[in-house]
Protein backbone atom coordinates (compact mmCIF):
# COMPACT_ATOMS: atom_id res chain seq x y z
CA UNK A 1 0.00 0.00 0.00
CA UNK A 2 1.30 3.43 -0.74
CA UNK A 3 -0.25 6.51 0.72
CA UNK A 4 1.65 8.99 -1.39
CA UNK A 5 0.39 7.72 -4.71
CA UNK A 6 2.65 7.31 -7.67
CA UNK A 7 2.58 11.06 -7.95
CA UNK A 8 5.08 10.92 -10.75
CA UNK A 9 2.88 12.81 -13.09
CA UNK A 10 2.76 16.32 -11.85
CA UNK A 11 0.42 17.22 -14.69
CA UNK A 12 -2.33 16.73 -12.16
CA UNK A 13 -3.15 19.86 -10.22
CA UNK A 14 -3.62 18.63 -6.70
CA UNK A 15 -4.35 14.96 -6.22
CA UNK A 16 -6.16 13.27 -3.38
CA UNK A 17 -2.80 11.75 -2.52
CA UNK A 18 -1.22 15.16 -2.08
CA UNK A 19 -4.15 16.14 0.07
CA UNK A 20 -3.38 13.12 2.24
CA UNK A 21 -6.78 11.61 1.53
CA UNK A 22 -5.96 8.68 -0.74
CA UNK A 23 -4.23 5.33 -0.75
CA UNK A 24 -3.24 2.92 -3.51
CA UNK A 25 -3.67 -0.72 -2.55
CA UNK A 26 -1.53 -3.33 -4.27
CA UNK A 27 -2.82 -6.53 -5.79
CA UNK A 28 -5.69 -5.36 -7.99
CA UNK A 29 -5.86 -8.83 -9.56
CA UNK A 30 -5.63 -10.75 -6.32
CA UNK A 31 -8.76 -12.65 -5.19
CA UNK A 32 -8.96 -10.55 -2.00
CA UNK A 33 -9.20 -7.30 -3.92
CA UNK A 34 -12.94 -7.66 -4.52
CA UNK A 35 -13.45 -7.80 -0.75
CA UNK A 36 -11.24 -4.75 -0.30
CA UNK A 37 -13.29 -2.81 -2.86
CA UNK A 38 -16.51 -3.82 -1.17
CA UNK A 39 -15.33 -2.89 2.34
CA UNK A 40 -13.81 0.43 1.27
CA UNK A 41 -16.88 1.47 -0.72
CA UNK A 42 -19.19 0.43 2.10
CA UNK A 43 -17.23 2.76 4.35
CA UNK A 44 -17.63 5.69 2.02
CA UNK A 45 -14.37 5.64 0.06
CA UNK A 46 -14.38 6.42 -3.66
CA UNK A 47 -12.79 3.65 -5.71
CA UNK A 48 -10.63 4.58 -8.72
CA UNK A 49 -12.12 1.68 -10.67
CA UNK A 50 -15.38 3.64 -10.76
CA UNK A 51 -13.83 6.72 -12.34
CA UNK A 52 -15.56 7.62 -15.58
CA UNK A 53 -12.37 8.00 -17.59
CA UNK A 54 -8.90 6.58 -16.93
CA UNK A 55 -9.81 3.99 -14.35
CA UNK A 56 -7.41 3.77 -11.42
CA UNK A 57 -8.11 0.39 -9.77
CA UNK A 58 -5.56 0.58 -6.89
CA UNK A 59 -6.87 4.00 -5.84
CA UNK A 60 -9.23 4.73 -2.95
CA UNK A 61 -9.90 8.20 -1.64
CA UNK A 62 -11.98 9.72 1.09
CA UNK A 63 -12.94 12.91 -0.71
CA UNK A 64 -16.29 13.12 1.03
CA UNK A 65 -14.59 12.98 4.40
CA UNK A 66 -12.42 15.97 3.65
CA UNK A 67 -14.98 18.35 5.10
CA UNK A 68 -15.08 16.36 8.28
CA UNK A 69 -11.75 14.82 9.17
CA UNK A 70 -13.03 13.63 12.51
CA UNK A 71 -15.63 11.56 10.71
CA UNK A 72 -12.93 10.04 8.50
CA UNK A 73 -10.78 9.17 11.50
CA UNK A 74 -13.78 7.67 13.33
CA UNK A 75 -14.69 5.58 10.27
CA UNK A 76 -11.11 4.36 9.86
CA UNK A 77 -10.90 3.56 13.58
CA UNK A 78 -14.22 1.76 13.50
CA UNK A 79 -13.12 -0.35 10.51
CA UNK A 80 -9.78 -1.12 12.16
CA UNK A 81 -11.54 -2.15 15.37
CA UNK A 82 -13.91 -4.40 13.46
CA UNK A 83 -10.99 -6.31 11.96
CA UNK A 84 -9.26 -6.91 15.31
Amino acid sequence: MQSGGSGTNPAAKVSWHQAGAAVDINGTRSPEFKTIISVMKKNGFVWGGDFKSHKDPPHFDGRQFMGNLNQAVRKAQSYWDSTQ
Binding site: S6, G7, N9, P10, A11, K13, W16, N26, P57
Partner: protein, 279 residues
Amino acid sequence: MKASRARTSRTLGLRTIFWIVMAASLCTLSSAQASSPGQHHGNGQTASDNSESQHFFFGTSHDAKLGTLAWLFCLDKEHHKGEIFVPPRMIGFSELDLGENDGTLTFQSLDFFGKNYRFRGTLKSEEVTGEMQLIDAKSGNPKDKWQLTATQLPPESLRAERTVPARYSNVDYSTEGGDFTGVDIRFFSTGTGTTGMIVFYESYWGEPTLTPLALSGVETTKEAIGFNVEMPNGVARYHLRTTATGGLFNRDDITHEKGEKEIALKRSRVLTAVLGKKE
Protein backbone atom coordinates in the same frame (compact mmCIF):
# COMPACT_ATOMS: atom_id res chain seq x y z
CA MET B 1 -26.10 41.87 18.94
CA LYS B 2 -22.69 43.53 19.12
CA ALA B 3 -21.16 40.31 20.39
CA SER B 4 -22.80 38.43 17.56
CA ARG B 5 -21.46 40.93 14.99
CA ALA B 6 -17.98 40.69 16.47
CA ARG B 7 -18.19 36.90 16.29
CA THR B 8 -19.34 37.06 12.65
CA SER B 9 -16.55 39.48 11.81
CA ARG B 10 -13.96 37.29 13.56
CA THR B 11 -15.28 34.22 11.72
CA LEU B 12 -15.11 36.07 8.38
CA GLY B 13 -11.59 37.19 9.18
CA LEU B 14 -10.50 33.67 10.07
CA ARG B 15 -12.16 32.34 6.91
CA THR B 16 -10.33 34.92 4.79
CA ILE B 17 -6.99 33.95 6.37
CA PHE B 18 -7.82 30.27 5.85
CA TRP B 19 -8.54 30.77 2.14
CA ILE B 20 -5.40 32.88 1.66
CA VAL B 21 -3.32 30.12 3.26
CA MET B 22 -5.08 27.48 1.13
CA ALA B 23 -4.50 29.50 -2.06
CA ALA B 24 -0.82 29.93 -1.19
CA SER B 25 -0.50 26.19 -0.52
CA LEU B 26 -2.10 25.38 -3.86
CA CYS B 27 0.28 27.76 -5.65
CA THR B 28 3.24 26.12 -3.93
CA LEU B 29 2.02 22.67 -4.89
CA SER B 30 1.44 23.73 -8.48
CA SER B 31 4.86 25.28 -8.84
CA ALA B 32 6.46 22.19 -7.32
CA GLN B 33 5.00 20.15 -10.10
CA ALA B 34 7.90 20.21 -12.44
CA SER B 35 6.71 18.67 -15.65
CA SER B 36 4.11 16.70 -17.50
CA PRO B 37 4.80 13.09 -18.51
CA GLY B 38 5.88 14.11 -21.98
CA GLN B 39 8.40 16.60 -20.75
CA HIS B 40 12.04 15.94 -20.03
CA HIS B 41 14.34 16.96 -17.30
CA GLY B 42 17.68 18.65 -17.50
CA ASN B 43 19.39 19.33 -20.73
CA GLY B 44 16.20 19.08 -22.75
CA GLN B 45 17.51 16.28 -24.90
CA THR B 46 15.37 13.22 -25.25
CA ALA B 47 16.51 9.64 -25.50
CA SER B 48 15.80 9.69 -29.21
CA ASP B 49 17.90 12.79 -29.93
CA ASN B 50 21.53 12.31 -30.97
CA SER B 51 20.75 8.63 -31.39
CA GLU B 52 24.03 7.91 -33.18
CA SER B 53 26.24 9.13 -30.38
CA GLN B 54 24.11 7.66 -27.58
CA HIS B 55 24.94 4.26 -26.20
CA PHE B 56 22.35 2.50 -24.08
CA PHE B 57 23.36 0.26 -21.22
CA PHE B 58 21.20 -2.28 -19.47
CA GLY B 59 22.19 -3.62 -16.07
CA THR B 60 20.97 -5.37 -12.97
CA SER B 61 21.47 -5.20 -9.21
CA HIS B 62 20.26 -7.29 -6.34
CA ASP B 63 18.04 -5.62 -3.77
CA ALA B 64 16.99 -7.54 -0.66
CA LYS B 65 13.66 -5.73 -0.39
CA LEU B 66 12.65 -5.55 -4.04
CA GLY B 67 14.38 -8.36 -5.97
CA THR B 68 16.51 -8.01 -9.08
CA LEU B 69 16.47 -4.38 -10.14
CA ALA B 70 16.91 -3.30 -13.75
CA TRP B 71 18.84 -0.21 -14.81
CA LEU B 72 18.63 1.47 -18.19
CA PHE B 73 20.84 4.42 -18.91
CA CYS B 74 22.56 6.00 -21.85
CA LEU B 75 25.89 7.72 -22.26
CA ASP B 76 26.70 10.19 -24.97
CA LYS B 77 30.45 10.72 -25.00
CA GLU B 78 30.34 13.07 -27.95
CA HIS B 79 27.92 15.50 -26.33
CA HIS B 80 29.14 14.73 -22.82
CA LYS B 81 25.77 13.90 -21.35
CA GLY B 82 23.58 11.02 -20.38
CA GLU B 83 20.21 9.92 -19.08
CA ILE B 84 18.90 7.28 -16.73
CA PHE B 85 15.47 5.67 -16.65
CA VAL B 86 13.54 6.65 -13.54
CA PRO B 87 9.94 5.61 -14.06
CA PRO B 88 8.16 6.91 -15.97
CA ARG B 89 10.84 8.80 -17.89
CA MET B 90 14.50 9.17 -18.77
CA ILE B 91 16.06 11.94 -16.71
CA GLY B 92 19.24 13.79 -17.53
CA PHE B 93 22.57 13.83 -15.74
CA SER B 94 23.77 16.79 -13.75
CA GLU B 95 27.33 15.44 -13.83
CA LEU B 96 29.17 13.03 -16.09
CA ASP B 97 32.84 12.21 -15.89
CA LEU B 98 34.28 9.72 -18.33
CA GLY B 99 37.90 9.13 -17.45
CA GLU B 100 39.80 9.43 -20.73
CA ASN B 101 42.48 6.85 -20.05
CA ASP B 102 41.70 4.90 -16.90
CA GLY B 103 38.13 3.86 -17.77
CA THR B 104 36.59 5.44 -14.69
CA LEU B 105 32.98 6.50 -14.98
CA THR B 106 31.05 8.72 -12.60
CA PHE B 107 27.69 10.33 -13.12
CA GLN B 108 24.91 11.87 -11.12
CA SER B 109 21.32 12.29 -12.21
CA LEU B 110 19.25 15.39 -11.84
CA ASP B 111 17.05 15.43 -8.76
CA PHE B 112 13.71 13.68 -8.68
CA PHE B 113 11.47 13.98 -5.63
CA GLY B 114 14.36 15.20 -3.47
CA LYS B 115 16.67 12.37 -4.51
CA ASN B 116 19.16 11.56 -7.23
CA TYR B 117 21.28 8.66 -8.43
CA ARG B 118 25.06 8.77 -8.22
CA PHE B 119 27.25 6.17 -9.92
CA ARG B 120 30.93 5.52 -9.42
CA GLY B 121 32.67 2.74 -11.33
CA THR B 122 34.35 1.82 -14.55
CA LEU B 123 33.48 1.51 -18.20
CA LYS B 124 35.59 -1.13 -19.92
CA SER B 125 34.92 -2.98 -23.16
CA GLU B 126 31.28 -1.90 -23.26
CA GLU B 127 30.74 -3.10 -19.70
CA VAL B 128 29.93 -0.83 -16.79
CA THR B 129 30.58 -2.00 -13.23
CA GLY B 130 30.45 -0.07 -10.00
CA GLU B 131 28.24 1.24 -7.24
CA MET B 132 24.97 3.07 -7.74
CA GLN B 133 23.80 5.16 -4.83
CA LEU B 134 20.45 6.78 -4.16
CA ILE B 135 21.28 10.15 -2.66
CA ASP B 136 19.16 12.39 -0.52
CA ALA B 137 19.45 15.64 -2.48
CA LYS B 138 19.15 17.85 0.59
CA SER B 139 21.76 16.21 2.81
CA GLY B 140 23.89 14.59 0.12
CA ASN B 141 23.85 11.36 2.12
CA PRO B 142 23.25 8.00 0.50
CA LYS B 143 19.88 6.44 1.28
CA ASP B 144 20.56 3.18 -0.50
CA LYS B 145 23.23 1.58 -2.67
CA TRP B 146 23.60 -1.31 -5.09
CA GLN B 147 26.39 -3.04 -6.97
CA LEU B 148 25.63 -2.61 -10.64
CA THR B 149 26.83 -4.49 -13.71
CA ALA B 150 25.60 -3.28 -17.08
CA THR B 151 26.40 -4.02 -20.68
CA GLN B 152 26.01 -1.88 -23.73
CA LEU B 153 22.99 -2.77 -25.82
CA PRO B 154 23.69 -3.26 -29.51
CA PRO B 155 21.92 -0.58 -31.61
CA GLU B 156 19.69 -3.19 -33.26
CA SER B 157 18.41 -4.05 -29.78
CA LEU B 158 16.64 -0.71 -29.70
CA ARG B 159 14.78 -1.17 -32.96
CA ALA B 160 11.43 -2.54 -31.97
CA GLU B 161 10.21 -3.82 -35.27
CA ARG B 162 9.55 -7.41 -34.31
CA THR B 163 8.12 -9.34 -31.36
CA VAL B 164 11.43 -8.97 -29.53
CA PRO B 165 12.96 -6.47 -29.07
CA ALA B 166 9.81 -4.57 -28.37
CA ARG B 167 7.93 -2.70 -25.74
CA TYR B 168 4.50 -3.73 -24.46
CA SER B 169 2.51 -1.39 -22.30
CA ASN B 170 -0.94 -0.35 -21.13
CA VAL B 171 0.33 2.47 -18.95
CA ASP B 172 -2.06 5.33 -18.55
CA TYR B 173 -2.43 8.25 -16.23
CA SER B 174 -5.50 8.89 -14.14
CA THR B 175 -5.83 12.61 -13.65
CA GLU B 176 -8.66 12.11 -11.20
CA GLY B 177 -6.69 9.70 -9.04
CA GLY B 178 -3.24 11.22 -9.56
CA ASP B 179 -1.68 7.85 -10.39
CA PHE B 180 -0.12 6.01 -13.26
CA THR B 181 -1.73 2.65 -13.85
CA GLY B 182 -0.81 -0.44 -15.83
CA VAL B 183 2.43 -2.19 -16.66
CA ASP B 184 5.34 -1.53 -19.02
CA ILE B 185 7.53 -4.34 -20.35
CA ARG B 186 10.59 -3.81 -22.54
CA PHE B 187 12.58 -6.57 -24.19
CA PHE B 188 16.11 -5.96 -25.43
CA SER B 189 18.35 -8.18 -27.54
CA THR B 190 21.85 -8.45 -26.15
CA GLY B 191 23.44 -10.35 -28.98
CA THR B 192 23.61 -13.49 -26.86
CA GLY B 193 19.93 -13.57 -25.94
CA THR B 194 16.99 -11.53 -24.77
CA THR B 195 16.78 -9.52 -21.62
CA GLY B 196 14.45 -6.83 -20.44
CA MET B 197 12.66 -5.05 -17.67
CA ILE B 198 9.18 -4.65 -16.29
CA VAL B 199 7.72 -1.74 -14.38
CA PHE B 200 4.45 -2.20 -12.55
CA TYR B 201 2.75 1.16 -12.24
CA GLU B 202 -0.17 -0.75 -10.81
CA SER B 203 0.58 -3.81 -8.72
CA TYR B 204 -1.62 -6.56 -10.14
CA TRP B 205 -0.54 -9.41 -7.89
CA GLY B 206 1.43 -7.67 -5.13
CA GLU B 207 4.50 -6.69 -7.15
CA PRO B 208 6.56 -3.64 -6.11
CA THR B 209 5.40 -0.58 -8.01
CA LEU B 210 7.40 2.08 -9.88
CA THR B 211 10.51 -0.08 -9.73
CA PRO B 212 12.20 -1.40 -12.87
CA LEU B 213 12.64 -5.14 -12.29
CA ALA B 214 14.84 -7.31 -14.48
CA LEU B 215 13.48 -10.14 -16.59
CA SER B 216 15.22 -13.50 -16.72
CA GLY B 217 14.58 -16.79 -18.45
CA VAL B 218 12.99 -15.05 -21.43
CA GLU B 219 11.56 -17.65 -23.80
CA THR B 220 10.10 -16.61 -27.10
CA THR B 221 7.86 -18.78 -29.24
CA LYS B 222 5.65 -17.90 -32.17
CA GLU B 223 2.66 -17.42 -29.88
CA ALA B 224 4.07 -16.08 -26.64
CA ILE B 225 6.93 -14.67 -24.64
CA GLY B 226 7.50 -16.13 -21.18
CA PHE B 227 9.77 -14.65 -18.54
CA ASN B 228 10.66 -14.69 -14.84
CA VAL B 229 10.86 -11.80 -12.42
CA GLU B 230 12.80 -12.28 -9.21
CA MET B 231 11.12 -10.67 -6.23
CA PRO B 232 11.87 -10.99 -2.52
CA ASN B 233 9.13 -13.55 -1.98
CA GLY B 234 10.28 -15.75 -4.85
CA VAL B 235 10.42 -15.92 -8.60
CA ALA B 236 7.24 -15.00 -10.47
CA ARG B 237 6.56 -16.34 -13.95
CA TYR B 238 4.62 -14.31 -16.51
CA HIS B 239 3.62 -14.68 -20.13
CA LEU B 240 2.65 -12.40 -22.94
CA ARG B 241 0.56 -14.02 -25.68
CA THR B 242 1.35 -12.06 -28.78
CA THR B 243 -1.47 -10.49 -30.79
CA ALA B 244 -1.56 -8.36 -33.94
CA THR B 245 -1.22 -5.14 -31.96
CA GLY B 246 0.55 -6.26 -28.80
CA GLY B 247 0.09 -8.99 -26.26
CA LEU B 248 -2.13 -10.47 -23.58
CA PHE B 249 -0.35 -10.46 -20.25
CA ASN B 250 -0.86 -12.71 -17.26
CA ARG B 251 0.97 -14.31 -14.36
CA ASP B 252 1.51 -18.05 -14.55
CA ASP B 253 2.56 -19.13 -11.06
CA ILE B 254 -0.71 -18.35 -9.28
CA THR B 255 -4.26 -19.60 -9.51
CA HIS B 256 -6.60 -17.29 -11.34
CA GLU B 257 -10.29 -16.83 -10.77
CA LYS B 258 -12.57 -18.36 -13.37
CA GLY B 259 -13.30 -15.92 -16.15
CA GLU B 260 -10.46 -13.57 -15.28
CA LYS B 261 -9.32 -11.82 -18.42
CA GLU B 262 -5.72 -11.41 -19.50
CA ILE B 263 -4.39 -7.86 -19.54
CA ALA B 264 -4.17 -6.36 -23.02
CA LEU B 265 -0.92 -4.52 -23.77
CA LYS B 266 -0.06 -2.55 -26.87
CA ARG B 267 3.22 -3.05 -28.71
CA SER B 268 5.16 0.13 -29.17
CA ARG B 269 7.87 0.99 -31.67
CA VAL B 270 10.18 3.04 -29.49
CA LEU B 271 11.81 1.16 -26.66
CA THR B 272 13.50 4.05 -24.99
CA ALA B 273 10.80 6.69 -25.29
CA VAL B 274 9.42 8.32 -22.22
CA LEU B 275 5.85 7.51 -21.37
CA GLY B 276 3.28 9.88 -22.65
CA LYS B 277 5.52 11.13 -25.46
CA LYS B 278 4.13 10.73 -28.97
CA GLU B 279 6.16 8.38 -31.13
